[in-house]
Symmetry: T
Subunit: 157 residues, 12 copies
Amino acid sequence: MPSDPGQPRAPALVVLHGPNLDRLGSREPEIYGTLRLSEVDAAIEAEARALGISVTCRQSNHEGQLIEWVHEADDHADGLVVNPAGYTHTSVALADALAALRIPAVEVHLSNLYARNSMRHTSLTGAHCAGVVMGLGLDGYLLAIRYLSRRLAAEAP
Amino acid sequence: MPSDPGQPRAPALVVLHGPNLDRLGSREPEIYGTLRLSEVDAAIEAEARALGISVTCRQSNHEGQLIEWVHEADDHADGLVVNPAGYTHTSVALADALAALRIPAVEVHLSNLYARNSMRHTSLTGAHCAGVVMGLGLDGYLLAIRYLSRRLAAEAP
Amino acid sequence: MPSDPGQPRAPALVVLHGPNLDRLGSREPEIYGTLRLSEVDAAIEAEARALGISVTCRQSNHEGQLIEWVHEADDHADGLVVNPAGYTHTSVALADALAALRIPAVEVHLSNLYARNSMRHTSLTGAHCAGVVMGLGLDGYLLAIRYLSRRLAAEAP
Amino acid sequence: MPSDPGQPRAPALVVLHGPNLDRLGSREPEIYGTLRLSEVDAAIEAEARALGISVTCRQSNHEGQLIEWVHEADDHADGLVVNPAGYTHTSVALADALAALRIPAVEVHLSNLYARNSMRHTSLTGAHCAGVVMGLGLDGYLLAIRYLSRRLAAEAP
Amino acid sequence: MPSDPGQPRAPALVVLHGPNLDRLGSREPEIYGTLRLSEVDAAIEAEARALGISVTCRQSNHEGQLIEWVHEADDHADGLVVNPAGYTHTSVALADALAALRIPAVEVHLSNLYARNSMRHTSLTGAHCAGVVMGLGLDGYLLAIRYLSRRLAAEAP
Amino acid sequence: MPSDPGQPRAPALVVLHGPNLDRLGSREPEIYGTLRLSEVDAAIEAEARALGISVTCRQSNHEGQLIEWVHEADDHADGLVVNPAGYTHTSVALADALAALRIPAVEVHLSNLYARNSMRHTSLTGAHCAGVVMGLGLDGYLLAIRYLSRRLAAEAP
Amino acid sequence: MPSDPGQPRAPALVVLHGPNLDRLGSREPEIYGTLRLSEVDAAIEAEARALGISVTCRQSNHEGQLIEWVHEADDHADGLVVNPAGYTHTSVALADALAALRIPAVEVHLSNLYARNSMRHTSLTGAHCAGVVMGLGLDGYLLAIRYLSRRLAAEAP
Amino acid sequence: MPSDPGQPRAPALVVLHGPNLDRLGSREPEIYGTLRLSEVDAAIEAEARALGISVTCRQSNHEGQLIEWVHEADDHADGLVVNPAGYTHTSVALADALAALRIPAVEVHLSNLYARNSMRHTSLTGAHCAGVVMGLGLDGYLLAIRYLSRRLAAEAP
Amino acid sequence: MPSDPGQPRAPALVVLHGPNLDRLGSREPEIYGTLRLSEVDAAIEAEARALGISVTCRQSNHEGQLIEWVHEADDHADGLVVNPAGYTHTSVALADALAALRIPAVEVHLSNLYARNSMRHTSLTGAHCAGVVMGLGLDGYLLAIRYLSRRLAAEAP
Amino acid sequence: MPSDPGQPRAPALVVLHGPNLDRLGSREPEIYGTLRLSEVDAAIEAEARALGISVTCRQSNHEGQLIEWVHEADDHADGLVVNPAGYTHTSVALADALAALRIPAVEVHLSNLYARNSMRHTSLTGAHCAGVVMGLGLDGYLLAIRYLSRRLAAEAP
Amino acid sequence: MPSDPGQPRAPALVVLHGPNLDRLGSREPEIYGTLRLSEVDAAIEAEARALGISVTCRQSNHEGQLIEWVHEADDHADGLVVNPAGYTHTSVALADALAALRIPAVEVHLSNLYARNSMRHTSLTGAHCAGVVMGLGLDGYLLAIRYLSRRLAAEAP
Amino acid sequence: MPSDPGQPRAPALVVLHGPNLDRLGSREPEIYGTLRLSEVDAAIEAEARALGISVTCRQSNHEGQLIEWVHEADDHADGLVVNPAGYTHTSVALADALAALRIPAVEVHLSNLYARNSMRHTSLTGAHCAGVVMGLGLDGYLLAIRYLSRRLAAEAP
């Protein structure tokens, strides 16, 4: 969303969680931690509130849905945080959606991709974001929010 | 540095900058930004101060020196932030040093490795850190400091 | 579905058919046989009935839908048979869903993957199932049902 | 759609646009041109009308939806033009749908795949079409329509 | 063995176990299970008896011996079950023997090849069988026997 | 040939056929169709005439000759259609000639490269043309002519 | 040359020597032997005479010329012996010419390709001949002549 | 066998046939021809007799046996013809045996390796023979015999 | 052989020599040295005697035989030294036999694998031994014996 | 040309320019500089004159012609400078011609191959020259001339 | 060192020799020639003096030291000649230092990298120099000096 | 150090430990054992003393320092034992230093490289030593010392 200089309002971020993240907390805690997705989203919202920005969190297992939410974020939000999960390594289509963004995006992974098998070392999607934060668990989302908050403030007129 | 439960003191972090980072700011600002390394270190120190932790920043172009500073950090500090720069992709020796750490480490890159050529997509060293932050410029260091601060506080007795 | 020892009931299986399998029978019979999907499902249900277990058969061309049905099966069923078809070789997201299953799963392919082109020799999804049955046509499903039936009986309290 | 020799009617084509093509014109015009998708479709329809054939244009970001539209085209149309966009290089499932078509299909890409990065040089889907037209922008669609029109006329009884 | 339509007799199967399977049960039970080979063969024979077919089980560590038993099976039996173990991934010669078979063959592996290291993901020999069953332990053999029994009955005059 | 705005004349195209295309029609009609090259050229010339442009068709089996004709076309024509046949996949030298062209070029292949063996999936030469048309037989040439005709008209002063 | 059953005449063979073979004997005798090309041709002609067949030997360093001589041989001769030398490993165009031959061809190499560096282990051209003889020096040509002589006699009406 | 200059006797050759060649003639005649191995050996013996040399033909499916026969040939014969069949592409051990030979060896393949799948394009064993003859069927053996006969005569004192 | 604590006896080792090692000394001394295998075995036996352990040396060219001797050693000996020669790089079956050993094994190679061609740089079998000694000629065997002697003494009750 | 010690004369060099270099100066000056080939040759001739040696400059787009000029240079000149342009990376035939040279050769490239795409990093032809000079523009030719001049003087009797 | 237009002085070059070059002359003269490094430096200094420029020669086996000397050269010299020896193929860090240079650099290798094993065909460092001179021994350094001298003179105000 | 035949003195060996080995014993004992480096060196020295030779042990984390100690050993010692640790797989520079040695060297690794991840299977440095000992822990050093002692004694005048 191209910022409208005449309208002072809180920056709006979108956080997108990709496939299987709706199962967070109940599965494989040794890799993904023990928090449920609702708890992750609550922490993200608290952090955003503390930083004076609004945030919307969404999850989908559908590649097409994630693509469309990226399109929507570009039209209606100021920044994007995305954890494409399994689509990170396989989705040229989602990467194309990110490549066309006018707003800044940060990719977040709960686990450290480089510490997992080699198929997970690459990121098709991360190549089209400003940066990537991986391996820092829930904190990764909070740090990404903080980064976007600082950057949007710095770029604000 | 294994925390000594009987001695209340501020957590101590070490930040290691790898090869060519001493030239920061004067070269290739389109990739690495315009800040000089002294300014980066000042910002890191300010962030640490604000978080109530101590930090020591060091830079070397020598792989062996960086390895020895990793060894020292393991003995005398509570957390490590490392930007191995060009050694990220080639140094099994530095990766081995990180693999033996008992304290948590975060790898930071100023630029987004996935947006550069494919030789830079892998990270031998990052595989042995808790996580990696890339592409967020100076903010990457500050976010890493913040992450370690939270984690050390959470793990403190 | 974690078995509830206090409730004696027939084991419940889910059979998931992936993309293009809704076109079965009318296309490329030299590879996939001449039965329509409804006939395959009827045979599966007959086999299940004969073995004293219940079975639900579903087909989708949507990766996200298949992922969600895997999640559902984990919550509500005792075993899973999955033919991911084209997603076998490309879907890290579906493989992640299978990796998190608490119930046993068997992957089935109508054709022999090793006898087709090399792109089809690997199975991202099969790596996270108990086993794989390929090349035995409709019988592959029936044998997978039989295997799960025996295994669930053996593991029953 | 197997032509029905007893029923003289205009040949019917389907044009399928894949992921992100709904954003055409507003993004990356240096790669994809400046026309919006509605303008592309209008031009396709005008060309079809001039050639005396009917055409239906559809767009989806969902792999599963595209697969189902391919199935439908096989049952109800005489020819297919498909631009799978990002799915071109990754979707075995969509390629399988095209491989089972009884009607002729042409793959179209707005940009020249060979002039982009090597990940885009291959086409899983194009291997199962009659041919591929790439790099000719909007004209690629019009030429594909013209080709199918000629071919259907030549094959007509 | 080409079936002789004038001679009603029970179908005869051969089961071939490859290298190291004579050590089954005493070694690496976490991969191969705890049954000894004699127990596996007894279970196979019981299953065959129940299905009204005869079966001969043989084991060899010698590639050449296995090749010759494949030749013999082709002349004297109606179906083959083969677990080539370590030769699965390396023996073009054994694959050539299977490729020349006139009787149907099924390859069986106790463990799931796709869940082991990548060297074991391919099967030179499986490419020349009707199908492959992997990861289902002893049940894999029984299911293969059952498949061949059904198929031979269906093909019988 | 840089168009001379002061001189109204019909646009001039060159069509170059590469190695073995002089044998067209008499060999492998299942891949290349049944028309002889003279018939292809006649159809091309008819299409050009209908579009009000002039065309010159040439064939050579010599890489060096094709390179020189590309040079000549750049000096004396307004557009180029080239079917480099076997040189498509191997000739860096011909690709270099095309890369230096000031006039638009379209690469044409009678067969669908993606449907043939993997050695033929790449196109060194096509990377330096505006686009590529493959698999549409003789029509491919006619569509390329039509594309260049439209483009030259659109770019004309 | 399709044999004309009504015309009894001696079979005619063509022997084609590829690039650098005109320098034979004076260079690198440890690889290619000490005979000059004229001596090789004399021996070939003597062998042919003894076998009652005619032979024409030609050498060219030009890929295009060799392609055209293959075309000519197809129209005017009964068999072909070809040593493509350096083009063996690089010429898809020459391989295409051989693939379209109606007469039998044998590829000959003076040296043993498998004993040289790996770049020389493959043969694009040999894949489209009846067979390949390598490493037997001048004798390779004579054996190829003898093979074609026997085969043409066996196939003669 | 190092020739003994004082003892005039006929040169002795050994012909070794590798795995599955004992099944020749009854299987896959489209690849390997219709002759049985006994007929091949009879033709070899007739050719040898005509050339005034003795020959011994042996077949084994056992890699170890073939290695030992290579050792024996080195001690007791003057030349070797070997068709390692499936071991051609996989046996470093057999290749090592051939590498240590003091007598000349020729590798023969009934089919053209380059015209089959890429796994069969390499020859570990052929790299250690004087040369390789492939694709010429039975004639390949006869030509190899003839080559060795000429070479032994030329090298005789 | 699991040591029997109640029975004081000298540790028993087995040394297995793989394919072609029976030809040692007479062939390629520049790679393998000039000692014959009997001399190697005599030196091994002398070293063992000096160390107070018993040793049995065996050689086979048969992969299956070597596998069976590994099985026997596991049942009847206390340690194993194995030089798999050509099977080092190709035998998954022999590697599987070593992987199941309960007694320690050391792999020995007369030559330095890393100094030979790249096909010989890997060791499938060595991965399942305690360690590998290469390039030290006969001494390699003696050092392996000495290592096992020390280790068995250290582990003895 | 083997130097004739009895005949004092100026050393003679040949400079060969490969495909597309006849278009130098008018195309892609950002890669190849702005000089035309005639100007390059004039500068080469001036440098040679200053060094007291004679030089002949030739350009061809034909691989076969370049091969023949290499042959001629070997017979009639004392040194060779060659810029194989696009053939550098693809021509085994030209590399073979250079490998057989008795006179010293230097390969020259106007641009720095390592700074271009990876396909251009290798040089088949350069491997058979004394050395390679790349990226130094016209100066590369002059330095190569100077090197050969010094070397021929040093080697002169 | 950015040239200071107001200060007429001789251009200053730096020559850096990488690891093991301090052992030059005493080791492997067949690859590296017989001159000692002091003699090489003396020849370089003589050439520089003759060209009216100053030169400083330095050698280090330490990657970090070489990086720092590159940094210094950028601040204090007008041109750089670098022979990174073994670091050529492995040092991303040294390549990064060269990439940031504002002064022109030329990479020199005594031996011809393309004539050595394939690991040495690439140059990470050369990609960031103006050009590379390889295989011309000591002359390579002298020609690089001469090139930089000409270029600095041409670029001088 | 070239032995000086006129001076009877004990052979002198150098043992070089590479990066991170100074941390031995306190880290990752499951891979590297529990001994500290000082204990390893004491054991080495005791073994040397027992064998009547002198030994000097040194450790460095600096590639350049290790290279220089290799140079020194060549001038002043009679044999070298080197454990390059992480540099084993990445240092062409250290491998070059070893390649130039006139004294024998043995590479030692505490762990079995083949049992670790594939990046550690190769050894650039080991290729230039007489041999490699891996996986035998501290004993590996002692056996290397013993080997060099025997070899130096055998080669002594």
